[in-house]
Symmetry: C2
C-alpha cells in the first residue's frame, strides 16, 4: 500500500534561499524565485540585494541595499536553518558581491549563480567593477547559468573570436546570434573561466537550425524536448495538431539550444522549439531557481552528484511557464509560475482535521444529511412510538436492500486489485449477510416466516436505492462503488450514536422499547468499528489520490443521491409505501 | 460538457498587490503574502516598505525603504496593471504611511489593512507617531484586520474600559485576554474609529469558553469551523478521531473567536478550535492576504459587496496552513502555505504542447512503443515481404479481436453518462464492425469462408489482449476503459502514417504489395480522423479531470500493458503462434 499522504505532507520541505533583487511587478527577482520555489513544493527564503521600481515595460528606479544589511539578512537566515541550495541572482554592486563571496565560503550549500546583468527590458543591473568582483564568487559556485550576452561579457569573447577564423565569413560583427559551434566553444570557455562545476549556457538569444544539430548527432548527447530518447520518428506526436503544423512550417529551423558543460566537457545539448511570446519577463530568474529546486528534490549522492534530468525538468518547467502565460501589463509579461499546480479540492488530513472528505460530504448539504439521520422515522423509533406496521414494512424491505448491499461489496471485491481490498470487501459482504439475521429475528417475532419475507415484493423506494448502488458500482470505478455504499454505513452509525445520546438526554428510551435490539445493534461496538474502518478507508483513498474538482463533484453527487434515497427509505417505512 | 481546462488556464489571474515589509526567513511579510497569493491562484506583485533581517527566533535588524522609493514602486506597479485588491501590511514609519495614503485615494482598488505593529516574536515594527498617521490611511481602507493588542492600541481601549464596570471583577489589570463581550465592544469601537467598511477582529490572543458562545446563540450569527450551519449534533464528525477526542477533553473550552463588524453592526462570530502549534510565524500576514484573494476571486457586485464565505475561506486556509505546518528553524516556524496545492502530473495543454498526455504515454517507455509500431511484422508488411500465411493468421485473429474491441466500446456506451459519449462509443462500435469487412474480404481472397473464419480458435495472444481490454473496462471507470482501447487506435494510426512515410522514402512499397488495402485503410482519412478524435478526447478527459500521481501511474500501466499485448499480437502473426 502507498504511504499515507498525511505522512508525505508532514515531511519537511527542501529549503531554497534566493539572494537577489526585488521586482515590484512580481515577474522577476525574488518574486519569481519564490513563486518557482512554491511551484516545486520547496520552502523559499530570500536575501534582498536591491529593490527595483519595475514593471513589464522596464526598470524605473533601483534602490541598493547596503552590503552590511545584505550580510545581516544572510546571517539571520542561515543561523536558523541551512538551505539545501542557494540561488544567487541580481547582486547590484561589487561590495555586495564581495560580502556574499566571503559568507558562502563557509557554507556547505549548493550554489547556483545566474549572473543578472541586464534586465529583459534592457536595463543594466550590474556595473563594470562588479563584473570583475564576480571572480571572488566563482569558487563557491556549483552551477552557473549565463545567457549568451552574459557569457560573452564574462569570458571576454572578442579574444575567443580569433579561433573562428576558419569558419567565420570574414565579417567583423560580433553579434549574439552565434552558431552552434561558437556556442559550444563559448560554453566551454565559460566553464573554464568560472571554474563552476557545471555551466548551462542558455541559448535563447540564438536561433539554431535543425541541420546544425543533425550534423552533431553522435558527437554530443542531444536531448530533444519532452524526451530523453530520439522520438523524431513518432508520427502521431506531431501530425494531429494544426498548431504544431504551423509552428513546424514557420519555425522548424528556429530552435533554442542550451548547452551543459561539466569539467570542460560538453555533457549535452537541450533542444527546444522557440516559443514566440511576449511573456518572458523573469525567464532567467525562473530557470536558475528551478534548477535549484530540481537539484534539491532529486536524490543525490553528494553536492557534485547531478544528472540530466535536473536540468531537463527545470528547462521544461520554464518552457511551459512561458507557453501557458497570459498577457499581463503593457510590456514583457511574467511567466505562469503556477502552471504545475492544481488546487487541492480538500485540505490534507491533519490531526486537527482528520476527516476532511467526510466533513465535506456531510457539510456540503447539511440539511439533507439531517433529514436522513434525524428523520421522523428515527425519532419515533427512538421514543418507541413508531407504529409496529411501519417498522415491519421497513425491516422487510431492508432485508431486500441488504442482499443488494452485500452484492455491491462482492462487486467491490471483483473490482479490487489487491488481496487486502478483496478480503475487506468479502468480509463486509459476510458481515452484511449476518446482519440480515436481526431482520429475520424481528420478522419471526412478528409472525412472519423466512419464506414470506423472501417473497415480499421489493418496494419502489427499495428498488430505486438498491439498484442505484449496484449500477453506480458497475458503471464506475472502485471509489464510485465505495461512495455508493458509504452513506448507508456512516448514516446508520450516526443514527445509532445519535439515538444513544437521545437516550442519555431522556429524549429516547431503550428499556421496554420494541426497537431496542435495532438501536443496540447500530450503536454497538461491532457496527461502529465497521463504520470507523469505512471512514478511514474513504479518507485514505481520497488522500492518496486527491480528486480534481470534476471528480469531487461526481463523488459528492453519488453521496447526496444515496442520502436522498436513504431518507426516502425511512419515508417508505413511515408511509407504508409499496 | 464542462469547458475545456485549456480555456480556464488561459484566463488572466486576479492581481493582488502587497505593500509590506520583507521577511528574509520567508515566513512573514511579502514572502508570506506572495506564497498565499500563489496558493489561491492569483498573481502577486509587491511594494517593499522595509526589509527585516529576521528568522523564526526574532527580528535582528530593520532597513527602512525611503518613502519616495516606496511611492516609486507603487507607481511602477499601478501604471502597468491595476490590482483588484491591495493588501497593506508593515508600513515602517509615518512618512511611508502618509505617502501611501495619498496614492491610494486615487485608486479604485479594494484595500485590506493588516496593521503590523508587533512581530510574532515581539519586535515593535511601527513607532508611535506612525500609529497616529494611520488615521490618514483609514478612509481608503475597505477591510481592516487587527488582532486584540493592535485594536486596543488603535482605539485607546483604556477609555472603553469604564463601560465594563458592571461586568468587571474589579481588577485594574487590562490584559489582552478579553471575554467575548469585551471583544464585541472592541470590534465595534474599532469599526467606528477607523471607518473601515468591515473590521475583522482576530481573537487569537483570547481564549473563549464554549458557554460564552452558547449564551450568545440567537443574538449573533455564529459560524463554527468547517460549517456554515449548526453541525454540533453530528456525531460521526467528532467521535472517530482519538485526536479530536483528546483535543475536546483538553481544549473544548479553548476557542478562538474572530469577530466581523460591518457598519457598526456585528455580522458574525467565526469560531475555531485553538491549534496548539509553534508554527504561527506570519499568521496575520497570511490571513489578511488570504482575505484579499478570496475577495478578488469570489464574484461580487461591487467593492462593498461581500459575504461570509470570503472571510470563512480565508480563516479556514490560515487554520489549515498552521495545522499542516512542519517544524522549521529554532523558533516560531512558518505556516504551510502550499497545503492547498497538489502538483500537476502533466503540464496543461498549450498551443505549443497540445497533447501532453499522449506525449507522456508514448515517451514514458519509448522503446516499448517503438517495438510495437515498428515491429518486424509491420516492416515486412510494408516491404511486401511478409509471408502470406503470417498475415492470414494475423488477420483471422484480428477478426476475433475486433469483436471484443467493438464490445468494449459498447461497454463504454453503458458506462457513459452523457448522450454525447453514448453516441461516440456506439459510433465507434459500428465503425469497428465495418472495419471487420476488410478482414472478411482478405480471408475470402485467401479462400477462407466466413464460417471458417468464425470457427477459427482464439489464439492465446489474442485472448490475452482482448479479454484484458474487456476486464479493465468492466473493472474500472470510463477513463480506464478508454485507456484500454487507446493504444490500439493510436498505434494503428502511427503504423499507417509511418508506413506511408516509408513508402515515400522508398523503404516500403504500395503498388503490387499484397497488403496494399490494409496499408491504405490505416493511413486513410477515415481512420486517421478517428485517431485524431480519439486523441483529442483523451486529452480533454485528462485536462478536465487532472490525474493525481497515483491515477496517472494506473493509467500509464494500462497503456503499457496494451502496448506490450499489441506487440505480442504482431509476434503471434510472425511466429504463427496458436
Amino acid at each position: 500500500m502507498a504511504p499515507s499522504k498525511l505522512s508525505l505532507e508532514s515531511r519537511k520541505k527542501h529549503h531554497i534561499l534566493t539572494i537577489a533583487g526585488s521586482d515590484s511587478s512580481g515577474g522577476a527577482g525574488i518574486q519569481a524565485d519564490l513563486k518557482t520555489i512554491e511551484a516545486f513544493g520547496c520552502y523559499g527564503s530570500s536575501v534582498l540585494t536591491g529593490l527595483t521600481a519595475q514593471n513589464t515595460q522596464g526598470v524605473q528606479a533601483v534602490h541598493e541595499v547596503p552590503a552590511e544589511f545584505v550580510v545581516q539578512q544572510l546571517k539571520s537566515v542561515i543561523s536558523d536553518d541551512i538551505p539545501t541550495c542557494i540561488k544567487i541572482g541580481m547582486l547590484t554592486n561589487a561590495s555586495i558581491i564581495k560580502s556574499i563571496a566571503k559568507e558562502l565560503k563557509n557554507l556547505n550549500t549548493i550554489n547556483i549563480l545566474d549572473p543578472v546583468m541586464i534586465s529583459t527590458s534592457g536595463h543594466t543591473l550590474l556595473p563594470e567593477d562588479a563584473i570583475e568582483a564576480l571572480k571572488e564568487l566563482y569558487p563557491s559556485i556549483n552551477h552557473f547559468t549565463p545567457n549568451i550576452p552574459e557569457a560573452i561579457k564574462l569570458t571576454n569573447y572578442s579574444k575567443l573570436k580569433s579561433k573562428f577564423n576558419s569558419t567565420s565569413n570574414g565579417s567583423n560583427n560580433v553579434n549574439n546570434n552565434l552558431n552552434l559551434e561558437e556556442m559550444i566553444l563559448l560554453a566551454k570557455e565559460t566553464n573554464l573561466k568560472t571554474g563552476a562545476f557545471t555551466v548551462l549556457l542558455k541559448g535563447g538569444h540564438s536561433s539554431i537550425k535543425r541541420q546544425e544539430l543533425l550534423n552533431l548527432k553522435g558527437k554530443y548527447k542531444i536531448i530533444w524536448e519532452q524526451s530523453d530518447e530520439d522520438s523524431d520518428d513518432i508520427e502521431v506526436l506531431s501530425l494531429f495538431s494544426k498548431y504544431i503544423e504551423i509552428q513546424q512550417q514557420q519555425h522548424q529551423d528556429n530552435l533554442v539550444v542550451d548547452i551543459l558543460v561539466n569539467k570542460g566537457e560538453i555533457q549535452c545539448l537541450f533542444v527546444n522549439k522557440k516559443i514566440e511570446s511576449k511573456n518572458t519577463h523573469g525567464t532567467g530568474c525562473t530557470l536558475s531557481t528551478a534548477i535549484a529546486c530540481t537539484y534539491a528534490t532529486e536524490s543525490r549522492e553528494g553536492p557534485d552528484d547531478w544528472n540530466f534530468r535536473m536540468f531537463k525538468r527545470a528547462i521544461a518547467y520554464t518552457q511551459s511557464a512561458i507557453a501557458s502565460a497570459t498577457p499581463f501589463g503593457q510590456g514583457h509579461g511574467p511567466l505562469n509560475h503556477s502552471h504545475l499546480s492544481v488546487k487541492r479540492t480538500l485540505p490534507p488530513p491533519t490531526k486537527h482535521n482528520p476527516h476532511p472528505f467526510l466533513s465535506h460530504l456531510i457539510q456540503s448539504n447539511l440539511p439533507l444529511w439531517k433529514s436522513y439521520v434525524q428523520h421522523p422515522f428515527v425519532v419515533q423509533l427512538g421514543k418507541g412510538t413508531l407504529p409496529r406496521e411501519c417498522f415491519e414494512h421497513y425491516i422487510k424491505q431492508d432485508y431486500h436492500y441488504l442482499k443488494h448491499y452485500a452484492r455491491a461489496h462482492a462487486l467491490g471485491a471483483y473490482k479490487a486489485d489487491s488481496f487486502e481490498d478483496i478480503s475487506a470487501f468479502t468480509d463486509i459482504a459476510s458481515h452484511v449477510a449476518r446482519e440480515s439475521q436481526m431482520h429475520v429475528a424481528y420478522c419471526e417475532s412478528f409472525g412472519i416466516t423466512l419464506e414470506e419475507l423472501e417473497k415480499t415484493p421489493e418496494s419502489a423506494p427499495c428498488a430505486a436505492y438498491a439498484r442505484y448502488v449496484i449500477d453506480v458500482g458497475t458503471q464506475g470505478d472502485l471509489l464510485d462503488l465505495y461512495m455508493s455504499v458509504a452513506s448507508c454505513l456512516v448514516g446508520y452509525g450516526e443514527v445509532g450514536l445519535w439515538l444513544k445520546k437521545q437516550v442519555d438526554k431522556g429524549e429516547a428510551v431503550l428499556e421496554g422499547n420494541l426497537y431496542k435490539r435495532w438501536m443496540e445493534d447500530y450503536s454497538g461496538k461491532d457496527f461502529l468499528n465497521a463504520v470507523e474502518r469505512g471512514i478511514e478507508n474513504l479518507e485514505r483513498r481520497v488522500a492518496e489520490n486527491p480528486p480534481s474538482e470534476t471528480r469531487l463533484t461526481q463523488l459528492t453527487h453519488i453521496w447526496h443521491e444515496c442520502v436522498r434515497l436513504e431518507s426516502a427509505f425511512w419515508e417508505m417505512g413511515l408511509k407504508l409505501q409499496k
